[in-house]
Subunit: 159 residues, 3 copies
């Protein structure tokens, strides 16, 4: 089976694919960070969604008051959902794009701008920065994904 | 490295893989469209989630009244979340299915029905059409994904 | 084109990739199950989000009372969203990890622990079990994903 392994290793040795692997891992790790930020705000703001999460804060009615929404927690959750809505298309379309034979320079440009846009989006959402900071970051990532989708359809279209 | 590139290109040259690439890109673009529809309803209904988004509509208390939920906005958001819940499994299971060696006709049938079902689901949700239109569209896409998962497990099972 | 097919089949014949295919399909099917659980609770608790879903329960005002949130429905929905937030990173990072040439034993260990953690998380959320059951299940799956991301970046880093 070492022959097969070699072929798999060749995929990860391809520079465009390595760039895709790197930037995809970065944006997915960034998205995962949102879970920790949510947990941080839930604990510091004492705002939980599940009764079992408030058990350590007191018994019965005294714990019930921590079952509430908090503006900071909700803000992080909206940022997290926006990540899902935008990083899932990047994950799929980016993979197909990486396999569609783009040149390395163009591919790196797409991946770097997307990663930069999503990191900016998170800062714009969490600080928060005045609009249109968040809107623009979102739009840049969106446009990069559309551009990759165009290349995929141009190369692979089979209806 | 041209040898590696050739191998990558062969992947995207395979007809089943090209069909997967095409339909995955289509359903992901469709899902991305939901962001634009949400933005459209947020702006026309003046219903925003973040204080910084209402800054252009007035200062202080006068802008605060636009921080509200709107039934049309919430409807699109539910449709968007339903897309995520169903297109993410298609993205993963569909890729593995495309690599599991299905015949082209069967694969195209799966991909086309899934894409049709998700597009119908969106129309049924946004118009909205009376039930069971939305429920059936959802169920058809769900069943196609289960069918592909069965083929993947039959071909690749390694626990 | 049989030569290309052979190459694709080789990918699915690789043991690490087959293990990835198997466990990814399992966790995605588990996530899809959350839709059925949500539907079950919506119907038994009579708690719907869309007016068209309550049409069969009566006309006009009498059906309107079923447009409401229910604690059990909301609990399943939170579990479903938590699946999305954690299984999407596994889907992407796990694929890249499987292609980064890990040894079979280590890869199986990662995939099995992740799948076990997410299944435990669902039981902990839906029963519900007292904390820290759910928190620990979540943390174990999170740590496994970080470990795979580390291997991907170590092998493929190309910025």
């Amino acid at each position: 089976r070492s022959g097969e392994m070699a072929k798999l290793t060749q995929l990860i040795d391809n520079e465009v694919f390595r760039a895709y692997a790197t930037y995809t891992t970065i944006v997915l790790l960034k998205m995962m960070l949102m879970s920790l930020v949510t947990a941080y705000f839930r604990i510091t703001r004492k705002a939980f969604a599940n009764p079992e999460d408030t058990a350590s804060l007191g018994k019965g009615e005294s714990a019930k008051k921590y079952l509430r929404t908090d503006p900071d927690v909700e803000r992080v959750r909206r940022g997290h959902l926006n990540d899902l809505e935008n990083i899932v298309p990047f994950l799929g379309i980016g993979l197909l794009y990486a396999l569609s034979g783009p040149d390395l320079y163009t591919a790196l440009l797409h991946f770097r701008i997307f990663a930069g846009a999503r990191i900016s989006h998170t800062f714009a959402y969490l600080i928060p920065l005045p609009q249109p900071s968040r809107g623009l970051s979102w739009a840049v990532g969106y446009a990069v994904t559309i551009s990759m989708a165009y290349k995929v359809l141009k190369t692979a279209l089979y209806l």
